[in-house]
Symmetry: C2
């Protein structure tokens, strides 16, 4: 393995795909646009889920589960939701197969046609708000703070593993509140939860901001987002948190009696992140040697490879290796000891390097004699020999250092890739040559945003929270502007 | 809440449904046959998942994720699989909606018709074995020990919350092995894992056995199962583990080179349990006062209710209550402190009793004075006053006692409900009047089994593992038999 793959410079897109495939993270399936998430890739998702799920619960949320299918008519209920959504989706029309009359396989039983077609959920606002109607009578029933871990389907025409697939896994939080302020506070709280997760676990710095009207979620009053920058200078939206106002409550008639005894519509939020985060994780840190994983999300943080020629040597090395494994595990470090005799150490080194294991220990007969161990860190590819004494503490510090180093590197990259631009030629030139985030004045109209997109493919990624106000002129129209916004090409 | 519901005797089926609905476990959705699992019900599923997932990982399995959709043609590849399966299922035929010309909502875009219909997975053997073909070349790639947590859809005509729903959540393990013996050992190992879980966590005794040919999974060589008995005397299949032989490997052409350098087909197993287990849990232990949960799977094990008249009293009681909560949590007991002022203690007592919280503590001003706390256990409904000293230890022992008591009670019930029967009149009479498990001789033919089913609705639940052999005559046909098998009506 791990020999024949592209570098970023040769072909960034191929490089990404090679890592996904050859590091055994995921692969395409027999079903167009649907991926198989392989055990090593799924283990990253499980780590992400565990951390996020705890964050959601620590902020008062519970998990629940809503149906996979949504009646077609539900999509028409919230006018802007149907406009922006639900066109490209999987539609269930029948509920029975039968044996083919020619005896070759099965065919659809045309008599088993549904009265109303069912849509495989592309997102669950409609079915959830239809459900909440029966859960809410009075302010005592609020807030509802519910999250769902689920699969969703959007019939994307062009798909890329993790980044854009027809089916993907995600979580979607759907909360209901008695006041506007409480709902906005929830929207902002969940944005902060996402930013905390992406920065402190994925080691990837994010911009927090709000979307322009063009880029807003269909049915939202305001969409908050976190935006990260990939190594090819393109932005990737890592998570969104929507303040939905009373739009869905009105569409699904969800009212409550407030403390004053009056009827009012419920205020809503929704927020989500998906397996797309794995795509971001891969693209953020990996290099031409393969995947690089931040220690906090690596399926295993340390691999120990025994070096030996004779079986007695392996026995001796194994005793020490398992001792080290135990010491590391005792302080919460996950370790794999790879004593397979079907592969040579060199092959294993290449394998784990390509798979992004943060730290590799090699242990041979000479190490046993001298009380040493060879330690290789994946991020810098440095090798160093350490004493076996206090090795657990050494590795613990090293993992923390790697986690920090990955963040710092990504942060520096983002800073270096962020450019203030004040005229149209420069705007185009920076986008085409340097890429990255471009901070430019904008006149605030959807029309201008649309034209910029047509000419450059760049969109407004966000208007940062606490954005400094400054007078200026729109980079495209020359009209007055009160602030710079963040433009970029994006995934 | 918790006032208006059926008893078991009045209407067993309504009693079950009332508990599910009124204990906030689940409800029907707007989509026929699909349920909403509410937070309290989902919390039970999360507990089950956590325990099972650890058991799977401890036995060497990893999680992965395979597509929701399966191409229609895949179902025709394994002949007996298609015969027994895949007829009643959700079929995706189109991938796009469009605005209705009359401006009212959306309609299916007939131009966006799939070339081949996609089936929403009723189980994943076919898509997984199509995938495994590319994962396996040599014996070095085996075994594959993979599990998937997923939603599946079977278009059931008659549905009941948790027990039989069109969409349900489950896990499905799919393993690939180089030898028949290894695959059979895996099948048996997973059956033991399930039995361990159901007996020691759900507090529900099970019979372990194999299915007769009639009841075998479509495509399996042998189906192992665990069977439990519900309070109405009906059996419920709690989990299955299938030895699939080389059937799916042959259907999907999954070969490997063995150690001798020869090509052979891979040996397979699959095994699963589902949200149906929640239905079993409810029916196994609950009583006419509502849900009864075994402590090991209760979303919270202890609830503390403060008793007070004045606000100063609440303040004083809360200090002690939170102290007790902390002491309990320190030894791993989950606790809810319900100090809501919107509901009275009596209402809360009824609520938690109905919701099956294993232990309820009540704490009032007099308890503060006397250093006591009132403890009510849900299983026996006994109340007793304990000293606050060592309360954590007291509760810990009590929870263990409740867990054991529930199992013992269910075990005694099953023993009392198991009857050896030696003639046809008695067979029918026991099934119709007493119900439960009937141990009777059977001639081993599918024909007899079918006739017994037609006349009595009873099926062979299993042929127990290590079943004692004894000469006898088939209770129906009078033909010679070598062993008794377990008959029952079932869910």
């Amino acid at each position: 393995m791990a020999q024949d793959f592209s570098t970023r410079e040769e072909n960034y897109s191929q490089w990404y795909n090679d890592i996904v495939i050859k590091a055994d993270l995921a692969e395409n399936s027999a079903v167009r646009g649907c991926m198989v998430i392989k055990p090593y890739g799924y283990a990253i998702w499980e780590k992400m889920q565990a951390v996020l799920d705890k964050m959601f619960k620590d902020t008062g949320h519970s998990n629940a589960y809503f149906p996979l299918f949504i009646p077609k008519s539900f999509f028409s209920k919230e006018a802007s939701h149907v406009e922006g959504f639900a066109k490209e989706c999987a539609i269930v029309t029948h509920y029975r197969l039968k044996n083919s009359p020619d005896g070759k396989g099965v065919i659809v039983d045309e008599t088993a046609k549904l009265e109303e077609e069912l849509i495989v959920r592309p997102t669950s606002e409609t079915i959830i708000w239809d459900t909440y109607r029966n859960w809410v009578q009075s302010y005592r029933d609020l807030p509802i703070l519910v999250n769902q871990w689920a699969n969703v389907v959007r019939w994307e025409m062009r798909t890329r593993l993790f980044l854009r697939t027809a089916e993907f896994l995600w979580q979607e939080g759907h909360t209901a509140h008695s006041t506007q302020n409480e709902a906005i506070a929830e929207t902002e709280q969940m944005l902060k939860v996402y930013a905390d997760f992406v920065e402190n676990w994925m080691a990837l710095p994010v911009l927090q901001g709000i979307k322009s009207a063009n880029e807003r979620f269909a049915g939202a009053v305001e969409t908050y987002c976190i935006e990260s920058l990939m190594q090819d200078g393109k932005a990737l939206q890592a998570g969104t948190s929507h303040f939905l106002g009373q739009n869905f409550a009105k569409a699904f008639d969800v009212k409550f009696t407030n403390k004053e005894g009056k009827q009012d519509y419920v205020w809503a939020t929704s927020w989500g992140v998906s397996t797309r985060l794995i795509g971001a994780l891969i693209m953020a840190h990996s290099d031409d040697k393969g995947l690089v994983l931040p220690p906090k999300l690596a399926p295993f943080q340390v691999v120990i490879v025994p070096i030996y020629k004779k079986d007695e040597q392996l026995a001796e090395v194994s005793v020490k290796a398992l001792e080290i494994k135990k010491a590391l595990e005792a302080i919460g470090i996950s370790v794999k000891y790879d004593n397979r005799d079907t592969q040579k150490p060199g092959w294993k080194f290449a394998e784990y390097e390509f798979k992004g294991v943060p730290v590799r220990l090699a242990l041979g007969p000479r190490d046993i004699e001298e009380g040493t161990v060879e330690v290789a860190r994946r991020d810098t590819l440095e090798k160093k020999t350490y004493s076996q004494e206090n090795i657990a503490e050494t590795i613990k510090n090293l993992l923390e250092d790697i986690q920090k180093n990955l963040f710092d590197k990504a942060y520096k990259f983002r800073e270096d890739s962020t450019t203030k631009v004040d005229n149209w030629e420069e705007f185009k030139s920076v986008l085409n040559n340097k890429g990255g985030f471009v901070l430019a004045h904008w006149d605030g109209t959807s029309e201008t945003e649309q034209k910029i997109k047509e000419e450059t493919k760049a969109t407004i990624r966000c208007i940062p929270l606490n954005n400094p106000l400054e007078d200026g002129k729109c980079v495209f129209s020359g009209k007055p502007s009160i602030q710079r916004v963040v433009f970029a090409k994006s995934y």
